[in-house]
């Protein structure tokens, strides 16, 4: 449980140095004005398409003193009908060591394209999200955040503890009629970034929970791909469309192939 500021701080210059190499603003500015124009993996996804900067609401604090666990909520204001829904949502942090943060793949069973999670943000930067509709249109949203380092607010590095891969889930006990039902999930996992050193100065290898799946009655509600910018002990709040009931099965998988599961009973309306 010892988390000393000295050790945590020693990692930060290394993270910053990496970030400068990956996303040098000077070379990127020339290519385009939107943040997705400057991030290669976003360009690959868009494949020449220009997203409409609308309909995505990103909630982040404007300033945080703990970049290791920043609350992030994203909502895409779009229908979730079988013929027109948000099928994917990608989150990027422009000045993290690697820009990919997390991606979600929804089905209409999710009821709404809204999530809450916690992410790692290395420094002050632009966070943006791209959403693809089932009809192939792209939407985008951006948000600025200032990240400060404070000696008064300890930054967290979770260790692999006795609760490793322990899962938690809680579905709302009742939903308002016609409204999607919220489900909160958490898995205990340090989400090692591969950028940290142990006390002897040796690099700790990357080891993360990389995927998550939620199914109800054998049908997929949501899948997610976590990158190393998802905070330790990945937390995810998502929704289930009204009219669904029965056991909700959740599965997480980490880099070793080890999986963990949890089940929640979704009540009939």
């Amino acid at each position: 449980m010892h988390r000393t500021i000295a050790r945590i701080r020693s990692v930060i210059p290394a993270l910053v140095a990496t970030a400068l190499i990956v996303a040098s603003p000077a070379s990127a500015e020339a290519q385009g004005n939107a943040p997705w124009d400057r991030v290669d993996p976003a360009q690959e996804l868009l494949d020449g398409a220009t997203p409409r900067a609308e309909s995505i609401q990103i909630d982040l604090p404007s300033v945080t003193q703990d970049g290791s666990s920043v609350p992030l909520s994203i909502e895409v204001d779009h229908p979730m009908r079988s013929d027109d829904y948000i099928e994917a949502l990608y989150v990027f942090a422009t000045r993290n060591p690697s820009p990919e943060v997390v991606e979600y793949h929804f089905t209409p069973l999710a009821g709404k394209a809204r999530i809450s999670t916690r992410v790692r943000l290395n420094e002050s930067q632009t966070v943006f999200a791209l959403a693809r509709t089932s009809r192939g249109a792209w939407l985008a949203g951006t948000r600025e955040i200032r990240v400060t380092v404070s000696g008064c607010i300890a930054q967290g590095n979770a260790e692999k503890g006795p609760d490793f891969m322990q899962t938690r889930v809680r579905a709302a006990s009742r939903a308002r009629p016609g409204e999607p039902l919220d489900v909160r999930t958490l898995i205990n996992h340090p989400m090692e970034t591969g950028l940290r050193e142990d006390s002897n100065g040796n690099a700790i290898p990357e080891r993360i929970v990389h995927s998550f799946r939620a199914e109800i009655n054998g049908e997929t509600v949501l899948t997610a791909r976590f990158h190393r910018a998802v905070s330790a002990n990945p937390y995810l709040l998502f929704y289930i469309a009204p009219g669904q009931s029965g056991p909700l099965h959740l599965t997480w998988e980490e880099d070793t192939g080890e999986t963990a599961t949890a089940t929640a009973e979704i009540p009939a309306a």
Binding site: A6, A232, N233
Partner: protein, 435 residues
């Protein structure tokens, strides 16, 4: 952590620039500032506001300075935990405004500031009167976000005190602890960042453990936290093990420590993933925002806190209005009394320069947060702050926390420094002489 001793001299040198030494030199203070009767109104007589009023008059005796503060006697939040732990009398935390009015000629109005007309440069008081100002300084502290935590409404503190503003709430919590049977469970609910006094919840459970150890040794303490890490965590956990064994259990967010519902009648709390805990004494530190007058003045933003120009602590959203202390968005500075005190000194100089039509002097701020874990066992975090590329930051290498594994003599000295700090800062602000 090892760099703290090396840099302490440098840190102290920088701290000197906000201390009294530089006042004698008068560096950066315009010679004739305040010789006209410019009116500065200060709202709030705590660590920020009372310091601002005093230092305005010290720097520019000709200024017309009015301090608006409802209380005739002000009780500090710092050291209330020592009162809860049985280490201090409540009255030792009280300070009055006689030095400000009698020695520094500050007009002290015991009234409640209700509204601000920024355009018309007027402050409305609850008693119906209006004050005109040329510059306004708001130091209103915090208000609670009633309704953010289900079940914890305005009446809930009567059963489950917050005790996060010093006064009757502090005494109520102490009374409940004294009335509690041996073998009971004290639960403290701690909020997510940002909030007033980052080490406060952890010092509080330490001090309550001190009281339990001596008086109710079979009792337990459960700290349910909305965060996965906290200020000076390693030092607190070391101190808890050393002095209190396993009496204190801390449950972080990822271990289902985040409380989402409070039942103040039953003294029960429910966590995010559905665990219900029952307390004998329940202390809820609720989510917070800037004090009400900051919202009335329109200087707070969506975060609930006040964005400021880092050089001067002038509110970004209003002309002529400065904001200090816990109400501000001044990260990485913590919401502490010490920081409010140095912010006030910076703002006092900036206001005087502003009235004289001159640029504000180069600012510097300092903070030390002492926490007392047990009698003769203190720990600290200290930093110096500066403006760098337009934003506030910690001066690299300027501070740090107490070392882990230090011996008892080291901890004992830090506990003595904590007492000395309290005596010094309350004398600086309110002129209180130690009894």
């Amino acid at each position: 952590m090892t760099r703290m001793p090396m840099n302490r001299r440098q840190a102290l040198k920088r701290m000197g620039t906000v201390g009294a030494g530089s006042l004698l030199a008068g560096a950066g203070v315009p010679l004739f500032a305040g010789s006209r009767t410019d009116r500065v109104v200060v709202v709030g007589g705590g660590f920020g506001g009372a310091t601002a009023a005093k230092y305005l008059k010290r720097l520019a005796p000709g200024l017309n300075v009015t301090l608006v503060e409802p209380a005739k006697r002000y009780y500090t939040c710092p050291f209330t935990n020592l009162y809860l732990g049985g280490m201090r009398e409540f009255e030792s935390l009280g300070h009055d405004y006689r030095e400000l009015s009698d020695r520094y000629d500050v007009r002290v109005l015991h009234a409640f500031a209700q509204d601000v007309d920024v355009e018309g440069r007027r402050l409305q008081l609850e008693n119906g009167s209006t004050l005109r100002w040329d510059r306004l300084i708001l130091s209103p502290g915090i208000d609670f976000r009633w309704g953010d935590l289900e079940g914890y409404d305005k009446r809930a503190p009567e059963q489950a005190p917050h005790a996060w503003k010093a006064g009757p709430q502090t005494k109520l919590l102490r009374k409940q602890l004294v009335a509690m049977e041996d073998g009971g469970t004290f639960i403290l609910v701690a909020p997510d960042n940002p909030f007033r006094c980052p080490p406060g919840p952890y010092e509080r459970v330490s001090m309550i453990a001190n009281y339990f150890k001596k008086n109710k040794p079979r009792s337990k303490i459960l700290l349910l936290d909305a965060k996965d890490t906290f200020s000076k965590q390693g030092l607190f956990e070391e101190g808890w093990r050393t002095h209190y064994g396993d009496m204190i259990e801390w449950v972080g967010r990822s271990a289902d420590g985040r409380v989402v519902r409070v039942d103040p009648e039953l003294l029960e709390v429910e966590t995010e993933f559905g665990t219900v805990h029952k307390a004998s004494v329940l202390n809820v530190v609720p989510p917070q925002k800037a004090g009400a007058i900051a919202h009335r003045a329109g200087v707070a933003d969506d975060s609930g806190w006040v964005p400021i120009d880092p050089h001067t602590f002038r509110a970004r959203r209003a002309e002529g209005v400065y904001v200090l202390g816990d109400a501000t968005q001044a990260a990485p500075m913590p919401k502490s009394g010490f920081v409010a005190n140095t912010q006030a000194k910076v703002a006092a100089r900036a206001v005087i320069a502003d009235l004289a039509g001159e640029p504000a002097p180069e600012p510097s701020w300092a903070n030390t947060c002492y926490s007392v874990i047990a009698p003769e066992w203190g720990i600290t975090v200290a930093n110096v702050y500066e403006v760098h590329e337009g934003t506030l930051r910690e001066v690299p290498g300027s501070g740090g926390v107490s070392p882990l594994d230090a011996d008892a003599a080291f901890r004992s000295r830090e506990a003595a420094y904590a007492e000395a700090w309290y005596a010094a800062i309350t004398q600086d602000i309110w002129g209180t002489r130690p009894a």
